[in-house]
């Protein structure tokens, strides 16, 4: 199998899976089996591609020429490969988790759910592999549309309203800003290709660079930059696996991934740095980080809190891009991985809590830790990783973002990142702390240092839910120790333009 074929195969498997799932809709076991098998197969192919990429291969496939000069092209570079690996790898755990969750929560229309899910993954992979801005834009929209039914899944008025906000904001920003930006780029440069070092330098009056960047930054609504972040909390009406994979990994990461990609391959890090065009974005991202964290503090709904946390964390990645240096790109890309692993765990825990105890509010969780210790231990680990504490993966991405801020001479940004960590502690760790250690509401512990009341049997979520949670929580730890390899890999993201041979 050549690399190019593997690339197409990786896209084809989830696409074909949608049809198989649709066909086996009446037999739930086969249907769920297909989605798991497809996820594993996809991941295997993606790993195979990863190997080639690390060996230096850069496969490229052109599917069709839509208009003269505008082609649908897939070609893989390290950044996209990273995103693809994360999305497809976490699809496996989510596929398993969905089985437990959807059955445990007695959700309706599960077939539609699995169809759209596989489709969304296919779109996410296509975004990861897209070889030019045009292809990326196409699948960006496909991703929006394929996740819309997932958000509206419950079909209640709230779900419909949430989905409307979701679609409205994502569509509005992508059409109003992103498409204009794409076409502008096209008319400036005559190409859309992602090229190392960027394509804009020399083709655009530097005065306009901030404006073009603004069109991109706001156009990529999936990156949830304030003030276009509202869709993310609104999307929390979706079933939890959706929130877990799509709104912690695939969709939002597609957004920030696009951000990184545009920064690296369209503007070029050097060009951005020299023109200082991204300065304003640095401040906006910093503001988003802090404001979203503060809002998260005030949310009592568990998923809403996590959603705002996501908004805040996504801006870390945007910040990495906007700081416009190599460490920023490395830190940002690393954060894609680290945050994905942490946040998916958190969301899956939220889902497990819902399935097992039917609790959705933070204030209802007191004392629940003793009934669901594994879930809450996983929650703690993931929280620590998100906060950026060792020995969990999140520490490293924060390290590189700080390095990047230091390189850019932005002491204030360092301060912002530090403050954000503290806010993260406040809104994330308080959840497991209360669950484990606060006395159940309404009764004060009769004494200090009361020994843990012997657990009267665990009431954990189904095994299908629990195992993925434990896996991803372990992943948070593994990532801390596996950092050397990831760093080496990220160094291969080309920052400088290729010198002519």
């Amino acid at each position: 199998m050549t690399d190019a074929n593997a690339l197409l195969l990786a896209l084809a498997i989830p696409t074909i899976a949608t049809f198989l799932i649709a066909a086996s809709g009446s037999r739930p076991n086969i249907r769920d089996g297909i989605s798991v098998v497809a996820s594993i197969a996809t991941f295997a192919v993606v790993l195979r591609l990863l190997e080639s990429i690390m060996a230096g291969a850069r496969p490229s496939v052109t599917l069709v020429e839509v208009m003269p000069g505008l082609v649908i092209n897939f070609s893989i570079e390290p950044l996209g490969m990273l995103f693809a690996t994360v999305a497809s790898g976490l699809w496996i755990v989510t596929a398993i988790y969905s089985i437990g969750y959807m059955r445990g929560a007695h959700e309706k229309k599960q077939t539609r759910f699995y169809i759209c899910f596989a489709l969304a993954i296919a779109a996410a992979l296509a975004i990861a592999f897209s070889g030019n801005l045009f292809t990326l834009f196409i699948f960006y929209e496909v991703l929006t549309l394929s996740t819309y039914p997932l958000v509206a899944h419950k079909e209640t008025p709230e779900a419909r309203a949430g989905a409307r906000v979701y679609l409205g904001i994502l569509m509005t920003t992508s059409i109003l800003f992103l498409l204009v930006a794409v076409i502008w780029t096209w008319s400036l440069t005559g190409t859309m290709e992602f090229r190392a070092g960027g394509i804009l330098e020399g083709n655009i009056d530097p005065v306009f660079v901030p404006f073009l960047l603004a069109l991109f930054a706001f156009g990529i609504g999936k990156a949830a930059l304030m003030p276009f972040h509202r869709w993310l909390p609104a999307a929390m009406v979706a079933p939890t696996p959706v929130s877990a994979l799509l709104h912690a990994v695939a969709v939002v990461k597609a957004g920030v991934f696009t951000m990184l990609k545009v920064g690296t391959y369209i503007f070029g890090v050097g060009f951005l740095g020299r023109t200082g065009a991204s300065e304003w974005l640095v401040w906006l991202a910093a503001a988003t980080i802090l404001i979203a964290s503060i809002v998260a503090l005030t949310k009592d709904d568990l998923k809403a809190r996590l959603a705002y946390s996501t908004v805040s964390q996504l801006s870390y990645i945007t910040l990495g891009m906007a700081l416009a240096n190599q460490m920023g790109i490395i830190g940002g890309s690393m954060h894609i991985v680290m945050h994905a692993m942490g946040k998916i765990t958190l969301f899956m825990c939220a889902g497990a809590i819902y399935v097992a105890a039917h609790k959705t509010k933070v204030s209802e969780l007191d004392g629940l830790g003793r009934k669901m210790p594994l879930t809450f231990i996983a929650f703690t680990i993931a929280s620590l990783s998100i906060i950026g504490l060792p020995p969990f993966g999140g520490a490293w991405s924060k390290w590189y973002l700080l390095l990047s801020a230091a390189d850019a001479g932005q002491l204030v940004i360092i301060g912002v990142l530090m403050l954000s960590s503290l806010l993260n502690v406040a809104y994330l760790l308080s959840i497991p702390a209360r669950a484990f250690f606060a006395p159940p509401r309404g009764q004060m512990a009769h004494s200090l240092g009361a020994a843990a009341s012997p657990s009267k049997g665990w009431e954990e979520a189904p095994l299908f839910c629990l195992v993925p949670i434990c896996l991803t929580a372990l992943g948070c730890i593994v990532l801390f120790f596996a950092i050397g390899g990831i760093y080496e890999y990220l160094l291969s993201i080309p920052i400088l333009p290729e010198t002519a041979p």
């Binding site: 504490l389 520490a395 301060g415 406040a426 250690f437 200090l448 240092g449 020994a451």
Partner: protein, 564 residues
């Protein structure tokens, strides 16, 4: 990774195993074995740096064994052992695991040869230790734990920021002597300062230690702050600023301790005050002063643990640690009382007790270098120490007004732990060379001179006399149940008030703005609907006449254009 260096690993691995060990006794034995095993990993090891490797172009060294880290490694292992012994009765896995992780992280940080490793374990102590507070499982402990955690993690992130800047400045992450000259080192200094409970950054200590579980407080008292002292001694020896910070630290807690009712908080203030001595020693930075700091840290861990243990034992039996609720307990718990008195005499630096041989090093160093006022402050502080730790703790617990508690003596394992600790306190006091032999610098100091013994006894006994006089005249402040404001008022009262004020303002503005905006949007939509809705003029199918009118208008417009 290359060969395993740090003893922290022993603790980490044990922490993974412990929850699954049954029965309970086996688990306790395993717990006690951990510090011993940890100690064995570096007991006979030659000095040097181990566990080095290259991580992303940074030179990481997991374990640097030299004179300074050796002493701290030793005392941390000892403290861990004693704390675990004292906690023999605890069946709560959370506390056991947290204790192991906490001690392990403390050791890891002490042995860290580079700043990144230091940071990792630095945060490790923060995270692990908070569980010892939360494990009390009350609402108050939860809230205190959150505050404590934020402070500790705050210290960690400031350290991280400092490290990042430092790395960018120097290209190295080696942890060695630094100068206070750039934002990087200031940040690192500040991070150390938070953990070391510098004045105004100290309240987490008084807040958290009384809130932890009985055994948790004993563990807490050993590691975090002494780790900070170690880090200061390693990174900022001879920084003059530290002298003044330290002197302030020795003085102000004295007054707070005198009026504090909660004995564990009294001990926390006392801890703060003792840290001041060590910080002064670091600030002076001469070999004598540094020796003093290290020795004092060593002795301090022991006697402070002993005091916390004895108060803890009382609390274990009576359920309270408030001076106003205690008294006359020597009748029920005489052995505990004796150990407590040993601890009190050690901390007050009576001759033949450990405090005497360590504190005098620092006092001599300050006098040697001619810091008269600092020296004076330290002497006053010594009197203060006697007041709150030497007299107040044992007196109000075991003597004074009999509160009527008739309880059993402390359990055997507690007595054992206290006994060993007390023996060590006396042993070190009687044979100072034991400790002097392992200090980082060669010691040329004799604590037991006539002058020193006599003057010290004068100081202490006259102060005791003052106490006796004040008690007999009724001038001594009564123990009253209360909380006393400290700097934490700023972030427990002022800041929330300010924030809620700001929040109120923001919310009001937001509501106002959004009402206006929503009003505008609504009227816009209404307007659009009026024009474009099914009944609106634009959607109505007009009579033919008006259609023709439009044609005329358009024609006219275009024609006008034609004529201009």
């Amino acid at each position: 990774m290359p060969e395993i260096g740090t003893p922290a690993l022993v603790y980490m691995v044990a922490a993974l195993i412990v929850p699954f060990v049954r029965p309970a006794t086996l688990r306790q034995i395993l717990l006690l074995a951990v510090p011993v095993l940890g100690l064995l990993t570096f007991w006979q090891l030659p000095y040097g740096t181990y566990g080095t490797f290259n991580l992303m172009n940074m030179h990481v060294g997991l374990m640097r064994l030299d004179a300074l880290s050796y002493v701290f490694g030793l005392i941390f292992s000892l403290a861990a052992f004693l704390a675990l012994l004292y906690a023999w009765h605890v069946r709560d896995t959370v506390q056991q695991v947290a204790t192991l992780l906490y001690a392990g992280a403390g050791l890891g940080a002490v042995f860290a040869a580079d700043l990144v490793t230091l940071f990792v374990f630095w945060e490790g102590t923060a995270i692990a230790s908070v569980f010892l507070i939360w494990a009390r499982r009350t609402e108050g402990a939860y809230a205190t734990g959150m505050r404590y955690l934020i402070m500790q993690v705050g210290s960690g992130v400031i350290l991280l920021a400092g490290i990042v800047l430092f790395y960018r400045e120097t290209g190295s992450i080696a942890f060695s002597r630094m100068d206070l000259e750039s934002p990087a080192t200031w940040a690192i200094f500040l991070a150390f300062g938070i953990k070391c409970a510098f004045p105004l950054l100290h309240n987490w200590l008084q807040d958290a230690y009384p809130a932890a579980t009985i055994t948790g407080t004993v563990t807490l008292s050993a590691f975090t702050t002494k780790l900070a002292v170690y880090a200061l001694a390693r990174g900022f020896p001879g920084t003059e600023l530290l002298i003044y910070i330290g002197a302030t630290m020795t003085l102000f807690p004295v007054f707070f301790a005198a009026v504090e009712n909660n004995l564990r908080r009294v001990l926390a203030y006392s801890l703060n005050n003792q840290l001041g001595f060590m910080v002064v020693g670091v600030g002076i930075g001469t070999p004598l002063a540094l020796n003093g700091t290290v020795a004092h840290a060593f002795c301090h861990i022991l006697y402070k643990a002993l005091l916390f243990m004895s108060v803890g034992a009382v609390m274990y039996r009576t359920g309270t640690s408030k001076a106003s609720e205690l008294g006359g307990l020597y009748k029920s718990m005489p052995l505990t009382m004796i150990f407590c008195v040993v601890g009190a005499m050690s901390i007050s630096a009576f001759p033949l007790f450990s405090g005497f041989i360590s504190k005098s090093l620092i006092l001599s160093a300050s006098a040697d270098t001619g810091h008269f006022f600092v020296w004076l402050a330290l002497v006053v502080a010594s009197v203060g120490v006697l007041e709150h730790s030497g007299i107040k703790i044992p007196y109000f617990t075991f003597f004074a007004h009999d509160a009527g508690h008739r309880v059993k003596e402390a359990p055997f394992h507690m007595l054992l732990a206290m006994g060993i600790t007390a023996a060590l306190c006396i042993g070190l006091g009687v044979f100072p060379s034991l400790l002097y032999g392992i200090l980082p610098y060669a010691v040329d100091y004799t604590p037991y001179t006539v002058t020193h013994v006599v003057t010290q006894l004068q100081l202490l006994l006259f102060a005791g006399l003052a106490f006796a006089v004040l008690i007999r005249t009724g001038l001594y402040p009564a123990e009253i149940r209360s909380v006393n404001l400290d700097f934490d008022w700023t972030y427990r009262r002022l800041l929330p008030a300010a924030l809620s004020g700001v929040a109120y303002l923001v919310q009001g503005t937001w509501r106002f703005a959004s009402r206006i905006v929503m009003g505008r949007v609504d009227s816009l939509i209404a307007g659009v609907y009026r024009a474009h809705g099914p009944q609106g003029p634009l959607a109505r199918t007009w009579p033919t006449g008006s259609m023709v009118l439009w044609i005329a208008v358009l024609l006219g417009m275009t024609l006008v254009l034609a004529y201009i």
